[in-house]
């Protein structure tokens, strides 16, 4: 991309003291051209202190907002500080910072692309060890989204994404709440922003606990499906900050 572009890696982290420093170190090593911003989403452990020691900038939420709120804080930060690109790298070590180059290559190749999403299912090197139930769920969303956005989406739950300025400003204004990745794809489509996928590697979590356990997975499915269908009917353009389009009974 343009010489001297300002790039920010957003690392959302909630009680990730076991892995956050390693993740930051790997990003800095692989991509010295990125500033690293850890969004500490109200952790009880030493996530924030360790992140700062590891050389990251740290934004701390006073209480846990959930992954959507955490990532949105990163977008707000990027927009306000004038960053050109944002990449999201999860704090649990699932994403491979060395693959950021692959995301960038796709954006360079086609400048009309606003978001490049790392997909674990396009890769011949299928190292992603997800349980079959999780994979089935992802494929259901993939099929549904592919129909809705009229284009192939293979890994709609991947958070490993590269965003340009247009996408940053859209998501700084409005980003879905609890399980944002799937719905965000639909938002991009509605706002005529273009997304592309490239194959990347993903790993099992390095430590800490996933925000999803077995019981929550079903809830996740239902909630995201609901969000998708409501998202279809939601009015455009996006509401301003503070107005999320909740029904108001009066």
């Amino acid at each position: 991309m343009t010489f001297g572009a300002r790039n920010l890696a957003i690392v959302p982290a909630f009680n990730e003291e076991a892995t956050v420093a390693t993740v930051i170190g790997r990003i800095r090593e692989a991509r010295p051209d990125f500033d690293v911003l850890v969004v500490d989403d109200g952790s009880f452990d030493d996530t924030a202190a360790l992140a700062e020691q590891a050389g990251a900038r740290v934004v701390r939420h006073t209480y846990n907002l959930g992954i959507g709120g955490a990532v949105q804080s990163g977008f707000l930060y990027a927009r306000e500080q004038g960053y050109d690109h944002v990449v999201q790298v999860d704090g649990d070590g699932q994403h491979e910072p060395a693959d950021i180059g692959r995301l960038f290559a796709a954006m360079d190749e086609d400048p009309t692309v606003d978001v490049v999403c790392g997909s674990r299912f396009l890769s011949a090197d299928m190292r992603y060890p997800a349980p079959i139930s999780r994979r089935t769920g992802i494929h259901v969303f993939a099929k549904l989204l592919s129909m809705l956005v009229e284009g192939r989406v293979s890994d709609p739950t991947s958070g490993f994404r590269l965003y340009n300025r247009r996408a940053i400003s859209l998501f700084a204004r409005d980003y879905p709440h609890d399980f944002p990745e799937v719905e965000a794809v639909l938002m991009l489509h509605h706002h005529r922003l273009r997304m592309r996928e490239v194959p990347v590697r993903m790993y099992a979590r390095g430590g800490g606990a996933s925000s999803l356990n077995a019981g929550k997975s079903a809830y996740y499915m239902v909630k995201v499906l609901l969000a998708l269908f409501i998202g279809l009917a939601r009015r455009r353009p996006v509401p301003g900050p503070g107005d999320t389009g909740h029904a108001v009974a009066s």
Partner: protein, 138 residues
Amino acid sequence: MDDRIQILSIIGAAGLLLVVLELVRRRALLERYALLWLFSALGLLVFAIWRDGLVVLADAVGIASPPNALFTLAFGAILVLLLHFSAAVSRLADRSKLLTQRVALMEEQLRRLRQQPDASESDDTTEQAEELDPVSMR
């Protein structure tokens, strides 16, 4: 007809009215919500005093038994109220999210400014540009 239940109803409805007024007086209840409860309490009081009111009401909407008219009405009103509160809570959650994000961003900025005390006078964005490494990997 037994007067005791009527007296009890009147006392109950009047009590509710007084509690609401007292809460407003102590500023424990915003007027906007107080109004809802005031009307509910007033409605209850009206039907407690005006015995035939329920019969008239039931006839008007075609419900055979007056008590059922009361239950239907009360149930509907409570449903609307709850929905209203869910919406209000959602709005509050959304606003507190915005505040949390804003505070978090400001704290980060403040911390960075404090780390370089001489820079606190100058414009923050130029400060930013200087501290960044301009060399891109790409």
